[in-house]
């Protein structure tokens, strides 16, 4: 075990080089629906129990199935209204179980990125070879079912190894060169993209994927009221939009349609999206597009700034 994962150097928020998004936008907004499949009877993992009860864990399983049966379509219709394309964090087994949902995402030109095979299969305990095979399976499945070269990763159920990001980047390169495997949503250290150090030296970035804005964290962990969640989204936006006048920020709203798309919660979310999209200088985009734009335009200048400031810090 290490004291620090070693993915990035300390890089203070003040005094950074200015980032500007396309058309002078101050804030890049992306919405990341998690389209997930949880198994009713998954194998045990020695480090994490998939369900709190012995088989069958109906309360947990059935509410997650609600997202697939009811929630996704409800959210798709809402996002259509605001011209928002989802960046899907995908349990790729969903392509096999529920291809209809994948089709609906494809029709909308949504992005699909890897969230592992099932959200009930964890990275814990996998050998490097096993984890590599699992990641490869997930990227190949996305390509087979959507034609997309998977750009991003969010580890299944946020379960990681020390090598997760290295392996994702390397498998992406093996399959599709620089067109795949170049961003991660697994790190929550910043409101702007950050270059990530990997053993391969690949140009790879962390794109902000806010746990604080995540509906499951809001509703299941923090147990807040729907309208308070809506207000938090608006407040989060207001501050990032204001700061974006100095240097472009990223706002992500990760969702789970077994939470946010329940009938008693969707209105608060709708109000928040309406508020955000009524502002002129918002780049409504996807995770992949943010990562590509950043790598193309800011990766080098930001990396140089980080290096320079790391040296200052070392003196």
């Amino acid at each position: 075990m290490k004291e620090d994962p070693g993915f990035y150097d300390y890089w203070p928020y003040e005094g950074r080089p200015r980032i500007q998004w396309p058309n002078g936008a101050r804030l890049a907004l992306w919405v990341a629906p998690n389209l997930e499949f949880y198994e009713l009877d998954p194998p045990d993992n020695p480090q994490r129990k998939p369900w709190p009860q012995p088989y069958p864990a109906i309360p947990g399983y059935s509410i997650r199935d609600y997202g697939n049966r009811v929630g996704h379509v409800r959210q798709m219709e809402l996002l259509d209204k605001f011209g928002i394309r989802g960046s899907v964090s995908l349990s790729v087994a969903l392509c096999d179980h529920h291809p209809e949902i994948i089709e609906l995402g494809k029709e909308r030109n949504w992005e699909f990125f890897s969230h592992g095979i099932y959200n009930t299969r964890y990275t814990y305990g996998l050998s490097e070879q096993q984890e590599r095979a699992m990641i490869r399976d997930s990227m190949e499945s996305i390509y087979t079912h959507t034609g997309q070269k998977c750009a991003g990763y969010l580890a299944p159920a946020l379960s990681h190894s020390e090598r997760t990001l290295d392996l994702f980047a390397e498998v992406g390169t093996e399959l599709f060169g620089d067109e795949a495997g170049f961003y991660t949503c697994d790190l929550f250290h910043d409101d702007q993209p950050t270059p990530i150090y990997l053993r391969s030296g690949k140009r790879f970035v962390s794109i902000p994927y806010s746990l604080e804005m995540n509906d499951t964290i809001a509703y299941v962990v923090n147990k807040i009221e729907p309208r308070r969640y809506g207000q938090q989204i608006k407040d989060n936006f207001d501050r990032l939009y204001a700061e974006g006048a100095h240097s472009g920020t990223v706002m992500c709203i990760p969702t789970h349609n077994y939470q946010v798309s329940c009938p008693h919660r969707l209105r608060a979310f709708e109000d928040a999206l309406e508020y955000i999209t009524s502002h002129p200088d918002v780049w409504v985009t996807t995770g992949r597009e943010i990562a590509e734009y950043f790598i193309e335009n800011y990766y080098d200048v930001v990396s140089a700034d980080i290096q320079a400031r790391a040296k200052e810090g070392a003196r």
Partner: protein, 307 residues
């Protein structure tokens, strides 16, 4: 040491569900349903009338809402009993004031112990469904099948005898089940059950001993879940109920009839400081033109007639 390679094998990775209980189906692709009298939103007010024993065993877990203190936990025992002595009568007044046709989910043990109350409920002519034997008589994975079979049989036979009703519906305590529960319910003449929270509409559910219908009774909007587990204010619960009502009414215009299932606990909403909030929710919903208040079994029959 790494995991066995079997951890990366996925025997159920194929089209549809990873089990055989029901078919995969998206709500948006189903044939629209129409409710009687041209209504679009069926309101199912499910009043859970519960019995929490003082000598709780807590096997395999302590039921939410049950005893938490060392024996004898008089505070929780009596606070739950409050619902059956006082709270229920406030809830009934509210129901009648707004013309709501409720469904009572009754623990059979309560019917045995408090014939007065069950007599009152049965005499109203409202539907009664079986909420298991009592709140500590849980159904759970790994439970002995014979023991569970006796539990289900005792709960249903007892409630049928006491109420004189056919008792077609079932709600497991804590919505918890074993792998055998659906079969045992089918064996005992249950037609519909309300434990699976994966849909906003009914759907067909397979058992090896005949078919059940799963009815949608939301946990996420349940008063106990919102107010007690999440710690939201009563006012927020009312907002959530009204927002759900609005959304479902709106969705029903395009996609066909919907159901608003509200599970209410008299020991919670029947408190003097909460009953007004329940009334506000009822007032709002019952004022909506598209709303059809009906017992669960009647909603089920209307749905079935169109499948």
């Amino acid at each position: 040491m790494s995991l066995d390679d079997a951890y990366l094998e996925y025997p159920h990775r194929h089209y549809g569900m990873d089990h055989h209980r029901y078919d995969w189906s998206m709500l948006s692709t189903r044939q629209p349903v129409k409710w009687p009298e041209g209504k679009t939103l069926a309101l199912w007010v499910n009043v859970s009338v519960q019995s929490f024993p003082l000598d709780q065993r807590g096997v395999p877990f302590k039921v939410p809402g049950g005893m938490t203190m060392p024996y004898p936990d008089l505070r929780h025992y009596s606070l739950r009993d409050y619902g059956n002595r006082v709270g229920i009568f406030r809830v009934l007044d509210a129901i009648d004031r707004f013309g709501i046709r409720p469904t009572f989910a009754v623990n059979t043990r309560l019917a045995e112990r408090v014939p007065y109350l069950i007599g009152k409920l049965a005499a109203r002519g409202d539907e009664i469904l079986c909420h298991g034997y009592h709140m500590d008589a849980l159904h759970y994975g790994g439970q002995d099948e014979t023991e569970e079979a006796q539990l289900v049989e005792r709960a249903l036979t007892g409630l049928r005898a006491i109420t004189g009703q056919p008792i077609r519906g079932w709600l497991s305590p804590a919505k918890n089940e074993s792998a055998n529960t659906p079969e045992l319910l089918a064996d005992n003449g249950v037609v519909y059950f309300c434990d699976w929270v994966n849909d906003d509409m009914p759907y067909r559910f397979r058992t090896s001993r005949g078919e059940l219908t799963a009815m949608p009774l939301s946990t996420e909007l349940d008063d106990q879940f919102v107010i007690q587990s999440n710690g939201h204010s009563e006012g927020s619960w009312v907002d959530q109920v009204c927002d759900a009502c609005d959304l479902l009414l709106q969705e029903a215009e395009q996609h066909g009839g919907r159901i608003l299932g509200l599970n209410i606990h008299p020991w919670l909403m029947g408190q003097p400081h909460r009953i007004g909030h329940l009334e506000r929710a009822f007032e709002y919903i019952s004022a909506q033109k598209g709303v059809w208040s009906a017992p669960a079994g009647e909603i089920l029959d209307a749905w079935r007639g169109q499948q």
